[in-house]
Symmetry: D2
């Protein structure tokens, strides 16, 4: 794709849309998508614009510099992304690889605008599946003794492969607080429950015990507080008495893969803006 | 409707269906609906049969007596209900009356097989709405000082009107433990969240603060532990950043009314069997 | 509510958002909601803006006049609605009144921003239900012989009550082509199928015969071609073999009421723009 | 899995459940799942029983022979399947292979109780994807001139591989009437619309033109009448103006894969009984 994606957040004020769109227009760009939202509870304005140059190529770096005075005046946080840059995503997985399979397939047919330069796992189980896609598979086993060394290896891969986004696709190890802090808003996890219900381990067994009639999955950004990060997307699916614990796991697979792939796509398309502990998603 | 509804639960064993259906057949009844379920985790067998007499009328009381030896042999809990008896439901409501309106309308067009001999409220707000349906409206205000007397009045109405089922249709007062104990499995509440998330007060505000992407409603039997009783039905509905706290309340209304009306219908049709802290629902 | 709602459609071009939002800003208004969409297949740009005056009151008529030069320059169709004006909706119904009941209730609690100055029916069935809301009920029976006179009466009510919107809430008579032509985009019908499946009469029976696993409902603007007008909203609900023709009707009721109330609300909030035979809905 | 699955359909009569379950009991089997349904419009009774031997092994062939007198007496169509036999499914695909990928993955993790001895395609596109699963890929190109020879090859594969079930997973060629007749109720197709809407070619483009607000997918048995066979499963997904024709295709992929995998699983578990042009599905 050509052009840029501008996202911004700032205190609400009259004239913000006119000023921002006026800037885009004067820079010789045509807006092809635009969405705004004002959080009335905090008085914060959020905006996302996709724009293409009327002629020639756009230079996201130059546009970013040109936009800085406006941003400064209105105390905006903003990003100016080049649409031709595909985010480089690292997928991490343990034994259950339905989300991994889903992400690999979607990426292979062009349905997910990311590149996957590497997959990391603490198990060997998914090696052949990843190899069939011709993507490097890094097996980094983790034990109490090796945890620190494993994280060092991971950090090396992230740096070497210039990773933009880490996707925890049913990765059952907890990332260290320091790693979480280094990538705020850039690590997405799928939790197999309808958060905040059933945090922690074995959510499907918790759901079975409580006798719920719907189960869910939640994609969220990872923060130091486990299962407490900003929620990106959720989905629920109906269950009943026939759905024993094993069948819950099976039903959950479909909804987990769907929810995670949506979250990754929205992130890759710069559709998600952080709003404190919540998210604004411009679908 | 003619005929009976038999529901039963007992330890699983070979031959239970054959023996029960054989009994029904020998009593001159034709099975028109039948469903079974075995909970593998507890080894409990559940069954529901709807049957009509091949000729003439059935006598639920006599059938119940005739079934007792089989029930005793297999340690069955069972109920034998006369389909011509409509459950007599007491509706209780505070200020928000969307669930009440829904139950009244469904009952009035024959979509809900219950009778509503009385509505009780701690407010006057819904009086005209109930009066338009020609149903007695009992205004029982509640304060710390009058709580005990109010419950005594309620108990009187329940007895006078031979109430089979109490429906808490957004009734914002807590029933006393003694009342809950007197009607186990016969008081249905609608909670405006996707339990076990957001127990207690103001669940929509809790949901907004946590930034969830789906909200829900839960119909459950009332026990002494608030919001912990066996879940009958749940439903979820999508929300996003545009959905502020007030709009959450509005979206929740539809799903609350739907979930509660399903739970009441299933109860009235003897489709719900208690399975410890969970429910088996034969839809 | 204070302020105005501006909706517009025109050939796409660079700078439209900046120019429109600049106009709003210069008129002393603050944008509180804004949404845009470009139909790539036709090159048409659509926009909806909700704005409040920074101080004092806004004058929709004056703003409309002031906006005309911009509109003319870009060949815009536009509307400038005063948010304090509630649309005056005429509800028409035959025998099934679940949609009517739903619209009356929502309006009574303020969930639907309309006024209902009159209900028209070719039957007497819903009289008491409407009377309980203190709304005039016009019984206009229709036969082949009286059809013309009935339409004349209807036209009189529409004029006397200054009706903005006609809602066919399971009204089983066909409006005359001339009436349809007089109110383009101002008559909303609920059809009890998932259009374009099962046009015409008895859609639930058609659905049962075909053995579908989902049934639906469709709210659409009425045009001279029956069941072919622009679709506003649709929803589907799961059915199975147990769902006989009567139960299909029962399940359909909930989804019909929900779909129609959404369509009416979106229309009343000026969220729907016609796009040829399709609609753009800014939710 | 051990044991058998018995499915049957016959004219309704009193005592059918008791007699059938009595047979199962006397043969030394324990019923672990059982479901019945009576179609009131045709007076037909349907039943499915899953049973395990209380001790040792069951012999489906012997049980079938033993059941024949009961079946003959009540004019039952019935099947007695050995649960240890996994259906052998041939997958056919053209260029879009999302359904194929989904079926391969589910089968590989044991979520779909089938074997896939062969994949047939009129294109080479999916070769590597199938090869990664170590499953033979038969490339059978089809043109007007080669159609007959292609079908002969297909018939050979079906015979050589003892195929029980043919799955058309977005196979864009029409099977010959003679092939359809040879495998009644054993060829499942996924159609990418909510049938009966948008039969024939390019349903997503038809859906876009009509401006529908939901799109769907339909899994059905193939008969000689294209897109008219008995429907097994359907699902719908929400779209809006932003969803252009290409994005409709993308959204449709998920729902197609889900619907087809359900249909294949239910067929493989003997959960689907034909009921004229409709299906009874015991989920």
């Amino acid at each position: 794709s050509r052009g840029i994606v501008l996202t911004l957040a700032c205190p609400d004020a009259p004239g913000l849309i006119a000023e921002t769109c006026g800037f885009i227009f004067r820079q010789g760009l045509n807006i092809i998508e635009s969405a705004q939202f004002t959080d009335q509870t905090t008085g914060t304005f959020f905006m996302r614009i996709v724009a293409e140059p009327v002629a020639g190529e756009s230079d996201a770096q130059a546009l970013s510099t040109a936009f800085e005075p406006i941003a400064a005046e209105h105390r905006m946080r903003f990003t100016m992304a080049d649409r031709s840059h595909r985010l480089r995503a690292l997928i991490m997985v343990s034994k259950f690889d339905h989300c991994l399979n889903d992400l690999l397939y979607r990426t292979s047919i062009g349905a997910l605008p990311i590149e996957i330069p590497a997959v990391v796992s603490n198990h060997r189980d998914s090696y052949q599946r990843v190899a069939a896609h011709d993507i490097p598979y890094h097996h980094i086993p983790i034990s109490a003794a090796t945890k620190e060394r494993a994280e060092a290896k991971l950090a090396e891969i992230i740096e070497d492969e210039r990773i933009d986004l880490i996707v925890l696709a049913r990765y059952m190890q907890v990332l260290s607080p320091s790693l979480c802090r280094r990538f705020p808003g850039r690590v997405i996890n799928i939790h197999h429950s309808f958060l905040p219900s059933f945090k922690g381990a074995k959510p499907y067994h918790q759901a079975f015990s409580r006798g719920v009639k719907l189960i869910g999955a939640t994609a969220h950004y990872v923060t130091e507080d486990l299962d407490e990060g900003p929620i990106i997307e959720q989905e629920a699916v109906r269950v009943d008495q026939v759905t024993g614990p094993d069948e819950l796991v099976a039903r959950g697979r479909d909804v987990e893969a769907l929810v995670l792939s949506r979250a990754v796509r929205w992130h890759a398309e710069h559709r998600i803006l952080l709003n404190g502990t919540r998210t604004v998603v411009f679908k």
